[in-house]
C-alpha cells in the first residue's frame, strides 16, 4: 500500500508535500476476574495515517494540510478519492508556511526490549505469573486485572526523503485491588504502562496497591485542615506537566502560554526549589521512547527549564519554526531534577500526604489543580508522627499560587514516561474535609 501511495502522491499536482505513518500492531490481551481468566483477545491490524500539504498564495503564503486514515483494504480508486477529497479541503486551511523535517541520522540508541526474545503470546504466562506473585494477602486480593501486550512496527516517510522505522512494545496493566477486612470493603485502581519485562515490576506494584488498600479500609473521613499537602506518584507528573505546557511552542504560538526564554517560568520570589526539566528520547520502560517523533524528526535530549528559567521552547518542528526557536521535535520523556530534602525530612511537620486520588488534574491552561482524595495520610502533629489514613474530601489550588515555595524530594521515581521527584510539598492548598 505504501509504495502505491507514494507513487500516487508524487504524481498528484496539488500535493506539494506529504507524510505517511504506517503502523502494524500485533497484540495479546488477557482479562482476569480474581485470578481466573475471563477472556483472551488477539489482534493483528495495520493502520496508515496520511497527511498531505498544499502551498498556496492569497494575501500571503499559506501551507494547508489535511490528515486522514487510510484503511489497508482501500482500493487504488478509494485512495485516489480520499486524496481528491483532501485537496478540496486543503485550499481552505490557511496556516502559516512551515517546513517538514529532512532526513537526519539518529544519535540516540534505544535499547532492545526483553520482549524481543520471543513471540508476544509466549509472554502471557510469565506476565500473568508476575502479576499474581504478590497476591498472597489474607484479607486483600487482586479483584480484577487486564493485561495487554502490543508489538508495534512503526514506519514514517515524508516527501523530504525521511524513511525511518522501528519496533517497539506497548504494554498496559490495569489492576484493581480490594481489601475486605476493614470497616468497609474498599478498592484502589492502578493503570500502568510498560515496554520491557522486569521481574519485580508487577509484584512491587501489586504489593504496594494491596498495602494502600488495607490502609484505605481503616481510613477515617478527611478532617478540615490547613496542612501542607504532599503529593507523590502520578499527581507529581500531572502537576509538573503544567510547566511543559507553558514551555510548549504550540501553546506559545497560540497565545495560551506567555512564557519567554530567559525569563522565570515559576513566578517571582522563589523560596522553595527551582524547577529543572529536560526531555529525553529514551527512558527505561517508557512506551514513548523513540529516536524519532511522529514527524520523523531525529530526537536528542534537550534541556527546557533550568533553575526555574525557561531555556528553550519544545515541540513539533512546525511550531518551533513559527517562533524562530531551535528545533527540538516532540521529545517523549520528561525528566525533572530532584530537590535536596529527603522524603523523611519533608514528612517532619504536619502534613496531608495524598497517595491516591479519584482523578487528580492540573489544567494546563489556567494552572488550576485538584482532585478527590481516595487515600491520604494525615499527620496532625508538628513532629510528623502518629499519622493515620484518611479518605474523602478534596484539595484544590492554582499552581501560580504555590509554585514559589514548592519543595521537591531528593528521592526520585520513574513512572511511564516521567522520571522525577518521588514527592512534592505544596503550601496554601485548599483542603475540603469529608467530615
Amino acid at each position: 500500500m505504501i509504495k502505491r501511495l507514494k507513487k500516487l502522491l508524487n504524481s498528484t499536482k496539488d500535493v506539494n508535500a506529504w507524510k505517511i505513518i504506517g503502523k502494524e500492531i500485533q497484540a495479546e490481551e488477557l482479562f482476569f476476574i480474581k485470578n481466573n481468566l475471563d477472556m483472551n483477545r488477539s489482534k493483528t491490524v495495520k493502520h496508515i495515517y496520511l497527511t498531505i500539504y498544499h502551498d498556496f498564495k492569497e494575501d500571503r503564503n499559506y501551507r494547508g494540510s489535511v490528515s486522514v486514515r487510510l484503511h489497508p483494504t482501500y482500493s487504488t480508486k478509494e485512495v485516489e478519492d480520499v486524496i481528491n477529497k483532501c485537496l478540496l479541503s486543503i485550499k481552505h486551511v490557511r496556516n502559516e508556511p512551515y517546513p517538514l523535517p529532512k532526513p537526519a541520522e539518529s544519535s540516540v540508541r534505544i535499547p532492545e526490549s526483553r520482549f524481543v526474545s520471543k513471540p508476544i503470546e509466549d509472554w502471557l504466562k510469565p506476565l500473568s505469573e508476575s502479576l499474581f506473585q504478590e497476591d498472597t494477602f489474607k484479607n486483600g486480593c487482586i479483584n480484577s486485572a487486564e493485561l495487554f501486550l502490543n508489538r508495534e512496527q512503526t514506519r514514517i516517510l515524508n516527501s523530504e526523503g525521511i524513511d525511518v522505522s522501528w519496533s517497539s512494545y506497548n504494554g498496559t496493566l490495569e489492576v484493581i485491588t480490594e481489601w475486605n477486612g476493614g470497616d468497609e470493603d474498599v478498592e484502589l485502581y492502578k493503570l500502568v504502562h510498560f515496554s520491557d519485562f522486569f521481574t519485580d515490576n508487577f509484584p512491587d506494584i501489586v504489593k504496594n496497591q494491596l498495602t494502600l488498600c488495607q490502609d484505605r479500609s481503616t481510613a477515617k473521613p478527611t478532617p478540615p485542615m490547613n496542612a501542607p499537602v504532599l503529593l507523590s506518584g502520578e499527581p507529581v507528573q500531572e502537576l509538573l506537566s503544567y510547566y511543559l505546557s507553558q514551555a510548549s511552542a504550540e501553546n506559545v504560538y497560540n497565545q495560551i502560554s506567555l512564557a519567554k526564554p530567559g525569563e522565570s517560568i515559576q513566578g517571582e520570589k522563589i523560596t522553595g526549589d527551582k524547577i529543572n526539566i529536560h526531555l529525553e528520547p529514551y527512558l527505561e520502560n517508557s512506551i514513548g521512547s523513540s529516536a524519532w517523533d511522529m514527524d520523523g524528526f531525529s530526537l536528542k535530549p534537550v534541556s527546557i527549564i533550568e533553575n526555574g528559567i525557561l531555556k528553550k521552547y519544545w515541540g513539533p518542528l512546525r511550531f518551533t519554526h513559527y517562533l524562530d526557536s531551535p528545533p527540538t521535535g516532540r521529545v517523549p520523556n520528561i525528566v525533572v531534577s530532584p530537590g535536596k530534602q529527603p522524603v523523611d525530612e519533608i514528612r517532619r511537620d504536619e502534613y496531608l500526604e495524598i497517595l491516591s486520588f479519584s482523578d487528580f488534574q492540573c489544567d494546563p491552561l489556567t494552572g488550576d489543580f485538584g482532585g478527590e482524595i481516595r487515600l491520604a495520610y494525615y499527620s496532625p502533629e508538628k513532629s510528623g508522627n502518629n499519622r493515620y489514613p484518611v479518605t474523602g474530601g478534596s484539595i484544590s489550588g492554582n499552581i501560580k499560587n504555590v509554585q514559589h515555595e514548592l519543595i521537591l524530594s531528593k528521592e526520585t521515581r520513574v513512572m511511564d514516561n516521567f522520571k522525577g521527584p518521588e514527592m512534592i510539598k505544596l503550601l496554601n492548598v485548599s483542603i475540603t474535609g469529608a467530615e
Binding site: N35, T73, K125, Q255, D359, E372, T391, I431, T432
Partner: protein, 481 residues
C-alpha cells in the same frame, strides 16, 4: 435525508457469513462485528485551522468465538486480495482459527483457572436501519464549512476585548456497523455530530475559558446551534475573569442539566454497569430494590431511552438496544449489561455492550443516561436557597463504583443568597460526596430534560466510547472545594 449504508460492509457481507459458517464447524458460537466509521473534524482558532479524520474513524472486524471454556476474540482489518469470495472466506477463517489456537495454546498449561461460560443462545433476528439527518455533512463543501467556523472568530473578537482565542470545533461520524452470527443478520447506519465553542479570555496573568458543547444525531445543521450560542459563550468566559474560589464546605446546590447528567453518569451510571457486579466492584448491588435516592429521582439509560449520540439499533455484541429504568422514584431497580455479564448474572442483556472500536473488548457501558423530569421550575428552586450555588458546566468526572465516592470538576457556580442570584461567580469547583447522600438530598427537580453527548466516557482511564447524559435542573446538597 436518509444516510447511505457502507458499501464496504455490504460488499463483504457474503464473505463474513461464510467465515461464520466455516468457524462454526470448530466453535459452538461465532459472531462477527464489522465496522466502517468515517468522519471529519474541523477546527479553527485564531492562529490555525485543522482538518482531519475524526478520531472515531475505523474499519475492521472482530470475531468472537466460544472456545469450549470462555470466549476468545480476534480483531483484524485486512481481507485477502483474492478474486474469489469463497477463497477469501476460507483464508480469513483459517487465519482466525490459527491465531485463536495459537493464543490458547500459549496459555496451556495455564497457572490459573479459566472461567466457564455457557454458549450464547441467540434468537434469530434480521434487522437493518438507516437513520436520517437534515443535512448530510459529507455533502457540504469544505470551504463552506471552514468559512462558517472562521466567521465566528471575528464575531467573537467584537464581543470581548479580553478574548485571546476562540476554538470552534465541528466533528461528525457516520457510523456503519454490521453484526453477523448464525442467528443474527443486522446492520445499522447513523450519523452523530458534536461541536464546541471554547472562548479563552485573559486579564493580566489570569486566564479563563469555558466550553459550550453541542451534539446529537444530527448533521451539518448542528452548526446553527454553535452560531446562535456564540455571544452567550464569550460573555460567560469573560465573567469568569472575576470569579472567586469557593470557601470549602457543604452547600445547597442547584445543578444545571449538564451537571445533573454528570452526576447521573458518574454516580449511578458507572455504578450499575453490571460487569462491575460480576467483579463484585459495585456498591449498587447492595441497594437493588432499596432506596438509593430521593423519591423525586427517576433515572434511565438506554440506546432507546433518548435520541442522542449513543442511540442505536443494536450494540457491539448484537443485542438490541433498550430503555432501562435504573432508578424508579428513588428505588434502585436495574443495572445495565453487556452480553457476557448478563449471562453470568442470569439477567436479560440490556444492549449496553460497547467497544471503543473493533480493536477493543466490549464492556457494559452507558448509552444515554439521564434523570427524568419533575414538576419544579428553576426560578422556584433559586428562591428556596438561603446560601448556595447554581452549578453550570463541567470539565470531567470520575467514578468510584465500589465505595461510591463521586468527583465532579465543575467549571463555575453562580452564588445564591436569600433566594436570589448575586451575580458573583466561583470557579473552578470540585464537587465531592457520597453518592447516596447526594441523591437522597435531591429536594427539587425541574420540568425540562436536556441531554448532551459531546466528549467521551472512559472506563477507568481507557476504553473511550460515546455516551450522552443529562436531566433537568435538580436541587441537592454536596461538598464543594
Amino acid at each position: 435525508m436518509k444516510i447511505n449504508s457502507s458499501e464496504y460492509l455490504l460488499k463483504h457481507k457474503p464473505i463474513l457469513k461464510q467465515v461464520v459458517k466455516s468457524l462454526s464447524k470448530d466453535y459452538p458460537y461465532v459472531s462477527i462485528l464489522a465496522t466502517d466509521v468515517t468522519g471529519t473534524i474541523y477546527k479553527t482558532q485564531m492562529s490555525e485551522t485543522m482538518v482531519q479524520d475524526s478520531s472515531w474513524c475505523e474499519r475492521g472486524f472482530v470475531v468472537r468465538v466460544h472456545n469450549g471454556n470462555h470466549y476468545s476474540e480476534f480483531s483484524f482489518n485486512e481481507i485477502p486480495d483474492t478474486p474469489d469470495t469463497n477463497d477469501q472466506a476460507k483464508l480469513i477463517a483459517g487465519d482466525i482459527g490459527d491465531r485463536i489456537k495459537k493464543s490458547l495454546d500459549a496459555l496451556n498449561p495455564f497457572p490459573f483457572e479459566k472461567n466457564q461460560f455457557p454458549v450464547v443462545d441467540e434468537q434469530p433476528i434480521t434487522k437493518s436501519i438507516r437513520e436520517k439527518v437534515q443535512i448530510t455533512p459529507e455533502d457540504i463543501e469544505p470551504g463552506e464549512m471552514i468559512s462558517r467556523l472562521s466567521k465566528l472568530k471575528s464575531q467573537a473578537q467584537k464581543i470581548s476585548p479580553s478574548l485571546i482565542d476562540l476554538r470552534v470545533i465541528y466533528e461528525y461520524s457516520k457510523v456503519s456497523k454490521m453484526f453477523i452470527s448464525e442467528s443474527k443478520d443486522m446492520d445499522q447506519t447513523y450519523i452523530w455530530s458534536q461541536g464546541y465553542l471554547i472562548p479563552i479570555v485573559r486579564k493580566d496573568d489570569n486566564t479563563k475559558y469555558i466550553y459550550q458543547p453541542f451534539s446529537g444525531l444530527k448533521g451539518y445543521e448542528l452548526l446553527d446551534e454553535l452560531e446562535n450560542s456564540l455571544t452567550k459563550a464569550v460573555e460567560e468566559a469573560e465573567q469568569l475573569l472575576n470569579a472567586h474560589r469557593v470557601e470549602p464546605g457543604e452547600y445547597d446546590i442547584i445543578c444545571s442539566p449538564d451537571v445533573t447528567g454528570l452526576i447521573a453518569h458518574e454516580a449511578f451510571g458507572h455504578g450499575v454497569e453490571m460487569d462491575m457486579f460480576v467483579k463484585n466492584r459495585a456498591k449498587a448491588v447492595e441497594y437493588i430494590n432499596k432506596q438509593g435516592a430521593s423519591d423525586l429521582v427517576t433515572m434511565h439509560d438506554g440506546a432507546l431511552s433518548a435520541r442522542e449520540v449513543s442511540s442505536y439499533l443494536f450494540d457491539d455484541e448484537g443485542t438490541l438496544g433498550t430503555d432501562t429504568v435504573i432508578i424508579d422514584k428513588g428505588i434502585l431497580k436495574n443495572g445495565i449489561s453487556d452480553l457476557l455479564s448478563a449471562f453470568q448474572l442470569k439477567k436479560t442483556p440490556t444492549g449496553n455492550g460497547k467497544r471503543e472500536s473493533f480493536e477493543r473488548k466490549a464492556y457494559a457501558r452507558m448509552t444515554n443516561t439521564f434523570f427524568a423530569s419533575g414538576n419544579d421550575t428553576l426560578e422556584d428552586m433559586i428562591t428556596t436557597v438561603k446560601f448556595g450555588y447554581l452549578l453550570e458546566k463541567y470539565s470531567s468526572g470520575m467514578e468510584d463504583p465500589k465505595n461510591w465516592g463521586i468527583q465532579c470538576m465543575i467549571l463555575y457556580g453562580r452564588e445564591i443568597i436569600d433566594g436570589k442570584l448575586t451575580g458573583k461567580l466561583i470557579s473552578p469547583i470540585i464537587m465531592t460526596g457520597y453518592v447516596p447522600d447526594v441523591l437522597k438530598s435531591v429536594s427539587m427537580v425541574s420540568k425540562n430534560v436536556v441531554l448532551s453527548g459531546s466528549g467521551m466516557c472512559g472506563k477507568g482511564y481507557k476504553e473511550y466510547v460515546k455516551t450522552s447524559s443529562g436531566g433537568p435542573y435538580i436541587k441537592t446538597r454536596a461538598r464543594l472545594g
